[in-house]
Amino acid sequence: MTISVDFTQPLTNDYVKEETFFQSLPLLEIKNLSISSLGENKKEDIKLVKNINFTIKSGEMLGIVGESGSGKSLTACALVGLLPKSLKVTEGQIKLHGRELLNLSEKEMRRLRGNEIAYIFQNYQGSFTPFIKIGNQLIEALRSHRKISKLDAKKKVLIWLERVKLPANQVFTSYPYQLSGGQLQRAALAAALMFQPFLIVADEPTTALDVLTSENILDLLVELQKEYNCAVLLISHNLNHVLKRTDSIAVMYGGQIVERGLTNEIRKNPIHPYTKLLLQARPVLSRVVPEKLVVIPGEPGLVAEQGCAFALRCPKSFKKCSILPKMQSVGDSQWVACHAADLEADYTNASS
Amino acid sequence: MRFVYAFFIKTYLTVMKMKNWPPTALLGLILLITIVLITAIGPLLIPNDPYMANMAERLSSPSLTYPFGTDHMGRCIFSRIVIGSQATLGITVLVITTVILIGIPIGLVSGYIGGRVDSIVMRLADGLIALPEFILAIAIAGFLGPSLTNLMISVVLVKWISYTRVVRGIVLSEREKEYVLAARVGGCTTWRIITRHLLPQIISPVLVLATLDVGKIILIISSLSYLGLGAQPPAPEWGAMLSDGRPYFQTFPELMIYPGMAIFIVVLSCNLIGEGLRDKLGEKSI
């Protein structure tokens, strides 16, 4: 059965979300969040995410940058309440529109997932159940949140597949294995945007994809984000993607946020030694090729247990670094947690 | 021979390197070691001649002379069970060793070299897999006549193929991995790749499979003996003892309970160890 889709109809959501009311508040507020793994005896074992803070406003794209083990994906999982059973949020608050998410029951959390916060996974093959057609999975998701007839659901799904620039009718009746990585990730994007959520969490959405496909998918994400004014939390280890597209950035190392602020500020004027080194250490296309790349000594797994997490690898570390540095503002829209930054404060202010 | 030697040494090392055994597996290990010890020194332990019939004292209840009582021919049940473990365990060890020594090399060659050898082995496997192990054993025992030797032949014939399949499967997936490619690029000969790189990968799955199979083999042997197709009377094999006692079962259930318990405990201890090994070595697929 084919359904003719009337594209002249406006694509309004069934619910009118009371956006104007929330405008003044930040959309998402994370305060002092810590995540620990639970050992065999259910006691707190290792702190994997340590007292992090950040906020996202409606329509903002925030990038979280960090290497493996920095805790960026865990933070994202905690947002939607999908932490593995062996991990637990031990302190802190996650507030969406001022509503505390950590206190919600599993049922309330389920209603919220997909509908208010959508999640896009890194592993595009894992986004859809392999033996169910894409269309049916999207309809299933729609009907989990809305009382809607199958036919209407199908119409809506087709519209959204069209919106993410896929051949809608064909994709609708395809099994996941019949689509390419890029197509699957577009379909996942459709699944995420269908409810016009307040926030999309994109966890390394293009890491497994080719260079050109990644660019296209991220461009599409930005385009749709602008159109529907939702917030995006883009998690990536690819600095290039994050620098190109986000409004602001949080840099994580060893479970801590070491620096955050507006993307432009951080690109022009990184203050934390880790941020600086990250920006310099990767090969960058340019007309002048350096003879040698700047190197960050050591491995990402090297995390100091006390004080600044980066201290063991930091070329500038000194005695004070064994005490945890406080997050302090540098300029109007940049915060950094580094003792060395104090020393350089005068210099940075002068240069910016 | 080098191959056999390497395999057993490496298996031994794999087991020795394991730490933190789960308590259930330890229990199984202790049980099995006890049983093996009893089997080894069995002739010194037994109070009576297991073959000596004494019709005057047939079907007597447990006493000091006959700890588990006597059977329908007045033979000491306890002595027969102790001596019977030699038959059961001996046959099982012999069978499983033969099966491993046949199954692994064929699996390695068939998986790594492939080609015609592989397709012949696999067609044969397809044919054999259609026949349930137990039915095939029955068929062979049926055609060749009921005896312990034929029983062993049939179990070997039935079992080797599953080892070949497991080994071949592992080899097929491992040989595409980068470390094997790296070994090829580094100039390793086929023989060296098989012995040095592939053999260690198959040790833990084979070890798990074999421990779990020991239990299954004991069950097959005792079931066939119970049907009268294995050990023949008056041999004190546990399954055969059960078969012997069947007519007196209503009045004298001890005849059945003790040999059955013996089988159950041996198989249970093997399964406990096998499960422990499987969890420890992470071979979830078996």
Binding site: K292 | L181, A183, G187, R192, R196
Partner: protein
């Protein structure tokens, strides 16, 4: 040194490489760039003889690998070694590091690289020297792969690759599965080693920036066809193939 002429390869009627031709000189490094499925990794496997050609010819130092068999092929193969993409899969998990490193040297007992003169019979000493070359100390000799981090494993893989002092080292996406801060370490290491041993590199990657950093010349593959081959310094030239321009556009920062 390496001549690739009109090489074609297909798997089950899908063509992976179509009439690819290029040459490499001793000491030169050539980058192969392309998206997944463009045939660049197949090219590497063909050069070391892990796969068979469907058509064309590959010669290394004048020897045609496809014509050689058995012992002769093994003998010829020692001039080309590979550093693999996935440091987690490229080391045998059951062997300690030093055994993995010296395995090629064990297989070719008559090869004596300049930096191993005098210790050729001492396996541990050789492993130690090789580890030192890749910036790891002797503490790593007895470790097993699972006790190493990704970057350390890749260093071990490189140590194994340079052990025979090959003419050509093929690096198949050596940094693509590593963290950002490790990538620079590995790229620098490879660049230093190249200078030290005057090796040629065939550097396979999907990241234009790494290739530009590492290579003298760049070959762009698209769906099994070599669409563009140029000197690295001409990367931004207007005469580049449109596909190359797209890749550059995607990689460059705004």
């Amino acid at each position: 040194m390496l001549q690739v002429e009109k090489v074609s390869k297909s798997y089950r009627s899908t063509s992976v490489l179509t009439e690819v031709t290029f040459q490499m000189e001793q000491g030169e490094s050539l980058g192969l760039i392309g998206e997944s499925g463009s045939g660049k990794s197949t090219m590497a496997k063909l050069i070391v003889g892990l796969e068979h050609l469907d058509g064309g010819q590959i010669t290394l130092n004048g020897l045609d690998f496809q014509q050689l068999r058995g012992a002769e092929l093994r003998k010829a193969r020692r001039h080309v070694q590979v550093v693999f993409q996935d440091p987690w899969a490229s080391l045998n998990p059951k062997l300690p590091v030093w055994k993995s490193i010296i395995e090629p040297l064990e297989n070719y007992p008559d090869v004596v690289p300049s930096f191993l003169k005098g210790v050729r019979n001492d396996k541990r000493k050789m492993a130690e020297i090789l580890l030192e070359k890749v910036g790891l100390d002797r503490d790593f000799l007895e470790r097993y792969p699972h006790q190493l981090s990704g970057g350390q494993r890749q260093r071990v893989g490189i140590a194994r690759g340079i052990g025979l002092q090959p003419n050509l080292l093929i690096c198949d996406e050596p940094t693509s599965s590593l963290d950002v801060s490790i990538q620079a370490q590995i790229l620098n290491l490879l660049k230093e080693l190249k200078k030290e041993f005057n090796m040629s590199y065939l550097f396979i990657s999907h990241d234009m920036a790494s290739v530009q950093y590492m290579c003298d010349r760049i070959a762009v593959f698209k769906q099994g066809v070599l669409v563009d081959l140029f000197l690295s310094k001409d990367l931004f030239s207007d005469t580049r193939h449109p596909y190359t321009k797209m890749l550059v556009q995607a990689t460059v920062e705004r």
